[in-house]
Symmetry: C2
Subunit: 357 residues, 2 copies
Amino acid sequence: MLSIKNPTLIVNRAIASRNIDRMLEKARQSDVIFRPHFKTHQSEEIAQLFREKRVDKITVSSVKMAQFFAFRGWHNITIAFPFNVLEMETVNQLASQIKLNILVESTLVADQLAGQAKAELGVFIKIDTGYHRTGLLPSQVIETESVLNTLEHSSFLHFKGFLTHAGHTYHARGRQEIMQIKASALANLQQLKEKYKSRFPDLKISYGDTPSCSQAADCKGFDEIRPGNFVYFDVMQYHLGSCSPADIAVAVACPVMATHPEREEAVVYGGAVHLSKEFIAADDNFRLYGYIVKLNRDGSWGTPVNGAYVSSLSQEHGIVKLPKNELKNLKPGDLLGVLPVHSCLTANLLKDETHFI
Amino acid sequence: MLSIKNPTLIVNRAIASRNIDRMLEKARQSDVIFRPHFKTHQSEEIAQLFREKRVDKITVSSVKMAQFFAFRGWHNITIAFPFNVLEMETVNQLASQIKLNILVESTLVADQLAGQAKAELGVFIKIDTGYHRTGLLPSQVIETESVLNTLEHSSFLHFKGFLTHAGHTYHARGRQEIMQIKASALANLQQLKEKYKSRFPDLKISYGDTPSCSQAADCKGFDEIRPGNFVYFDVMQYHLGSCSPADIAVAVACPVMATHPEREEAVVYGGAVHLSKEFIAADDNFRLYGYIVKLNRDGSWGTPVNGAYVSSLSQEHGIVKLPKNELKNLKPGDLLGVLPVHSCLTANLLKDETHFI
C-alpha cells in the first residue's frame, strides 16, 4: 500500500488524461479554441498532461497563478478574473514576457488600465449572461461602448473579445436547464460579436464552465471554451450530471482514527482544512461532504460504497457514515478514500499533499 | 495605507492580547491549567504573545502542528486529536524531545500504542460528553477499564486523565444551553475523576471549546481548559454570544474589483480559497460568509457596516451586499475588510498572507 500517513490527495492520471481527451475532442469537433482553466489543479504534473496533448493556451483565476504557470513555460494566459488595479505592476511585468489577457467590466478600470499599461495586453470585456456575479449586462451598451473606445485609443491594450462564465449552471436542475443557459449565453455573445465584428474583425467570444461544456453535445458557435473542473470532476459535477463516479480523477486518502459501530460511523483524519466545507444538501438535516471509496494497494479506488458518505467536518476530523457490514472490517490505521464535493477547493488545500498514480 | 494587493489576513495584536488576558484571568480565578489550542492561529507571532504572558502548555490538532511548535520551543504539547497509529514513528521521535500528550478512545489503539511506544508519552482518554463525534461514552465502563489496564501496564505510557471537547456548544441556541452542556460535561468528568482518583491520584480532567469557556463566569471544577478560537473570535462566536464584534481580532483585507450599484453589490478579490466556505444561514435563501468593516489607514477597522455582508463566494471572488450609500464611495482598488465566519479556517488558508498590526 502507499505509504500515506496524513490526508493526501490521490490523483489518477489515467482518469484525468481521459477527461482531457474527451474535452479536447469536443473542442476540435466544435472548431473552438481550447483554453482550459488551470485553477482546478494548479499542478505542474497535470499541466504537463495538457502540454503533451498540445494544449498551449490556458486560463487562470489570479495574477499569482499566472506567474506560477508563466514561470513554468506557459506563454499564453488569460486571467479570467476582473482586473485588480492594485496588481498593475505585476501585470505589466508579466505582459512584457508572455501573451497575457485580462478582463475588464467597467470604464473606470479600463481608464486606469489605459493610463498605466506599459506592455501589450489583451483585454476581454466580461459579459454577464445571467450569473449576475460580475460583468456588463448585454443591455449595458453605453458602458460597453465606452470601454471599447478606451481600449481602441490605447497603444498597449488590445480588445480581444467578449467573455462570459455561466456559473449559474451550478444551480441548474438538470441537463435541460443547463442547455438553456448555454444557448442563452451563446445568443448574447453572438449578438455582441455580430454588432462589433466589422469594427474588430478578430474579436472572439469565449465561454466557460464545466457543466455546460461537459453536458453539451458540442460547443459550436463559440470561438473559445475555458472549462476547468472537468479534468478532475467531483461529487458536485456527478450530481449535476456532468460525469459518472468513474470519471472522478481525485480521491482524498484519509487515515481511520476510530470506529463507532453503535452509530454506524467512523472518524477519519481529514477535515475542513483538507476537504473544504463545500457540501451538497438534500435537506436541512442532511449534508454530504464527500462519497466514500475503498482504496486499492496501488492507490486506485473502486465505485462509491453504497450508503457511505462524509456527514460532518471539523477542522481536522471527518465523520463518515458507513453501513455496519463495512464498519466491521475497518480499524484504526486503515485508509478510506473520499471523493470530494468540490475538487478545485480540495486540490487547493492539498497542494502540498498530493500523490499521483 | 498598508501596501495590500491580495486578500490578506490582518491580525490586530492588541485585540488578540486582550482576548488572551481575559481568558488567562478566568483560568487563574478558576484555578485551572490554561492550555490554549493553537490550531486557530498556527502562528509564531501569536504564540509569542502567549509566551510573554507565561503560558507554556499548549494544545494542537495534528502531529504536524505539534512538530511545528516543538521546533519553536514549545515543550509541553497535547495533540487533542484521536491518535493516528500511522504516525507512531513521528510521535515517538517527538515524545523523546518534549512532554507530549495524546488521546486514545479505544482498546485497539491503546494496545497498538503500548506495543510501539518508545518514549514517555502522556495519554488522555477522550470522553464523549454529548458531542458524539469522538470519544468513549461515560457509560462505556468496560472499554474504559480495558484502556486503563493497558496504560497501567505500559512502561512508556502514562495515564494523564479524561479529556472532552464539548463541540455541541456550537449548535446550541443561546447561553443557557451552552451552560447546560458545560455543567453536564463537568458532571461526567468529575464522576470519572471520583471513580479513579485513588488509583490515579494525579489524573486531570480537561475541557475545551470557546463558547463554554468564554461565556461561563468561571471554569471551576475542571483541572484544565483548552479553548482556542477565543484569541481571534469570529462572526460565528459573535452569533453564539461568546464575544462582541469589537473582540474579533482578525479581518481579511479584500481589494474591490467592481461595484454593481443596481443590485447593491460589490465584487471583491477574496473567495473560498481565502475565507473558507463556512457560513451562517438564517434560512435557505440567506447565507452570510462574513461581515464587512471599513479599514483605516493603519489597517485597523471599525464596527461592521450596517446591512453589509458577504453573500456568496466563488473560488477567488466574493460578492458583498452593500447599501447604496456605502457603494457610492467605493471604487475598484479600494480595500474592504471582511470579518470571517470561522477564523480558524480563514487563518489556516491565509497562513502565508498574514499581516500583523
